[in-house]
Amino acid sequence: MNLDSLLLLFFAGGALLGGVLMLIARHPMRVALALICSMLSLAGIYAMLGVHVIAVFQVLIYVGAVMVFMVYVIMLLDVRDPSFLRRYSHALVPGVVSGVLLVAVLGYAVLQAGGAVAPAAEPGTSYLIQPFSVEFLQTYWLHFELTSVLLVAAVVAAIAVIKGGRRNDG
């Protein structure tokens, strides 16, 4: 039980704790903060695995952009509506039951498979920024370009939604 394993367990526990708190917290702001915690723990896990690129992007994009946006919106809206008083929907029991079943089934599959994935002989790929980027843009440049198209589409769609919404409202 060395430091690595302990840290790994610590971050894993953090992620799980964040997830559970998300389900339990009443105020959406607290839910958002729990999610940020969870994401930061995950970034820690990625860093421990040596996948630095992903860890950085997790913090930058996911926490820095997505969750901040989320927090802004929560601050903007009036969250003291019926969903504040009664957190859980009518599908509470079926939801929990199916969640438990899903975990059971998937966990069983994972346990059966065991460590079926053959570990690599040695880390042939570096997940540091420069080698990763070079290799990324050499082999997967098309996917990269397509994602920029997707982002443009998303921007256009966002404008259209807002504009249309404005017209409906005004």
Binding site: A91, P94, G95, S98, L101, L102, V105, L106, A109
Partner: protein
């Protein structure tokens, strides 16, 4: 030469022409076609008879017109068979038929549906000829059903009146009940003998080895069919109601031809009946009971046509008595003479009704003898014939029947003779009653009617004269002798032979006694008759109500069947079971849909839950099965 087919097809042609185009072309065309074709058929029948006699008279003419069906290795043909019996029947049908057609041109002159009438009349002739000329029971049955159909169409000719239409329906339904027996008999014969052809059936029964079927059973089944068609008890109820049709129709169908189909059937299949003493006995008993029963009712009837209707039933009973004691030829003889005098009587009644502008109640007639003399004379001749006054035709045939009823070794008995003789007495009585009340008593007519009384046109009176002459002299041609090679005369008890002459005298006495009684009671009018009726009120009511047979049938059969149809078949079967199951299925579908649609809650999260459940199921299943 397909002479027999020609005989049969000519009236069919008449039906098609008159039915399809007759109404458009005009009355003269319809009359020409409607009367001309039956006359041609009569000539063809006469020619066939000459051909038959030229060949010695024993060898029948057989023509196969068409192969109807071939099933496996069995063929069913439409074939025609002409022997002496067929000759007699065909000549009566076409001869008397043609005369009635000619009469109808006068009687139905003012009717709107002139063409339809002649079309149906020709159709009837076609089917009747199929019946009498057919070789196999199948063809005979087609004709049997067909004359029933034509009878229904013609009885209900003025169908706008619902009562008349109902009478037609009653005739058809009652016939059908008899036909069930006929069919069963047919099937039994086919099952045992493998053939429907009547000459072969007769040969099989007369042959050395009797077929393995109860002749009495077959005989009774076929007789049930004859009961329906020939209006014997208990299926006689349709004939009096059938008087709702035009009078020439009553003359043709319900006096001369259709109702005699039953007699023809039994006479034709005499081979079976000669070996079926029980069936023959049943026939004789039913015949004499019907004769007696109908005669008692005829005594109190007040409608001129109803008297004649019951008289027909009674005379048919006589024919069946003759058949029952084995005197087949004598029955056909009586059929032949009856055709003449009954047709004459009915047509005479039609002439009277025509003269009286539609009045049919004899209580409102009287004194017509001087005003419509030709009708009176012909009617009187025919009445005398039916009463059995010598030397008119009816005397010969009725006398032979009474003799064989008394003396035949195959079923004759004193009791049978006694009842038949009493019925003959009643026949004379009610017929002369009719004659006196209609023609000879002082007039009881209403003033308006009396003013319009006129003799009928030549087309009607001419036919009456011809038929009266035939009723007078027709008896001199001895049909039993003519048919003897085919229909052997029964053997009379040897020791009773010396009764023959006295019985003849006795039957003449009966006829005259009937005449005397009629003059005594009704000679001056209704007064004495009514007084007599007042002295026996209950008997009078029973007879006037026709023994309440119709009411009995209605109560016993009509109402229960109606109740069953209404409550059980309609109420339970149709509404509850069929409609109910359909409604039930609809309701089931609706309720199921209603319950299943509760899945559509509109709540997205619920849908997600369902999707996850499905996914879990899939995963679990995948992992269990490899």
């Amino acid at each position: 030469m397909n002479l027999l087919t020609v005989i049969v097809v000519l009236p069919l042609l008449g039906f098609l022409l008159n039915g399809l185009v007759g109404a458009r072309i005009g009355k003269s065309f319809v009359s020409a076609v409607g009367c001309g074709l039956p006359i041609l058929a009569f000539l063809a029948a006469a020619r066939s008879l000459l051909l038959l006699q030229a060949g010695g008279g024993e060898q029948p003419l057989i023509e196969v017109a068409y192969t109807w069906a071939t099933i496996g290795d069995r063929t069913f043909d439409i074939a025609f068979y002409f022997d002496r019996l067929s000759a007699v029947m065909a000549l009566i049908v076409t001869g008397v038929g043609s005369l009635i057609h000619i009469y109808s041109t006068g009687y139905m002159q003012d009717d709107a549906s002139y063409a339809r009438y002649f079309a149906y009349l020709n159709l009837f002739l076609f089917f009747m000829l199929l019946l009498v000329l057919g070789r196999s029971l199948l063809v005979c049955f087609v004709g049997w059903e067909g004359v029933g159909l034509a009878s229904y169409l013609l009885i209900g000719f003025w169908f706008e009146d619902p009562a008349k239409a109902a009478a037609g329906k009653k005739a058809f339904v009652t016939n059908r009940i008899g036909d069930a027996g006929f069919l069963l008999g047919m099937f039994l014969l086919y099952h045992t003998l493998g053939t429907f052809e009547m000459d072969r059936i007769n040969a099989a029964f007369m042959g050395p080895v009797l077929p393995a079927v109860s002749a009495s059973l077959v005989g009774i089944l076929l007789f049930i069919g004859a009961t329906g068609k020939s209006a014997q008890i208990p299926l006689h109820v349709w004939l009096p109601d059938a008087m709702a049709g035009p009078t020439p129709v009553s003359a043709l169908i319900h006096a001369a031809t259709m109702v005699t189909a039953g007699v023809y059937l039994v006479a034709r299949l005499n081979g079976i009946y000669q070996h079926a003493p029980e069936a023959s006995h049943v026939i004789a008993v039913v015949g004499v009971m019907t004769a007696f029963f109908a005669a008692t009712i005829a005594i109190v009837q007040t409608d001129i046509k109803k008297v004649l209707a019951y008289s027909t039933i009674s005379q048919l009973g006589f024919m069946f008595v003759a058949l029952g004691v084995g005197a087949y030829g004598v029955a056909v003889f009586h059929l032949y003479t009856h055709a003449f005098f009954k047709a004459c009587l009915f047509l005479g009644a039609g002439s009277v009704i025509h003269a009286m502008s539609g009045e049919q109640d004899i209580r409102r007639m009287g004194g017509l003898a001087k005003r419509i003399p030709i009708t009176f004379v012909t009617f009187a001749v025919a009445t005398a014939a039916i009463a059995g006054i010598p030397p008119l035709a009816g005397f010969f045939s009725k006398d032979e029947i009474l003799w064989f009823a008394f003396a035949s070794e195959s079923g004759g008995s004193t009791l049978l003779w006694a009842v038949a003789s009493f019925t003959a007495l009643m026949t004379a009585f009610y017929m002369f009653r009719l004659l006196w009340l209609t023609f000879l008593t002082p007039s009881r007519m209403s003033h308006a009617t009396e003013h319009h009384v006129h003799e009928s046109p030549l087309s009607m009176t001419g036919v009456l004269i011809v038929l009266a002459v035939l009723s007078a002299i027709g008896g001199f041609f001895s049909i039993p002798h003519f048919l003897e090679p085919l229909l052997p005369m029964p053997v009379a008890h040897h020791e009773l032979e010396h009764f023959e002459k006295p019985l003849v005298v006795f039957s003449v006495v009966l006829g005259l006694a009937g005449l005397a009684a009629a003059i005594l009671v009704y000679g001056k009018g209704l007064a004495r008759g009514d007084a007599l009726a007042a002295r026996f009120p209950r008997l009078h009511r029973l007879l006037s109500g026709k023994y309440f047979v119709d009411e009995l049938y209605q109560a016993m059969l009509g109402r229960p069947l109606n109740w069953i149809s209404d409550r059980i078949f309609l109420g339970v079967g149709d509404r509850f079971l069929i409609d109910g199951s359909l409604h039930g299925m609809v309701a089931l579908a609706q309720r199921t849909a209603g319950r299943l649609s509760r899945v559509e809650t509109g709540s997205l999260q619920f849908y997600v839950a369902l999707a996850v459940a499905g996914a879990i199921g899939c995963l679990a299943w995948m992992w269990r099965h490899g």
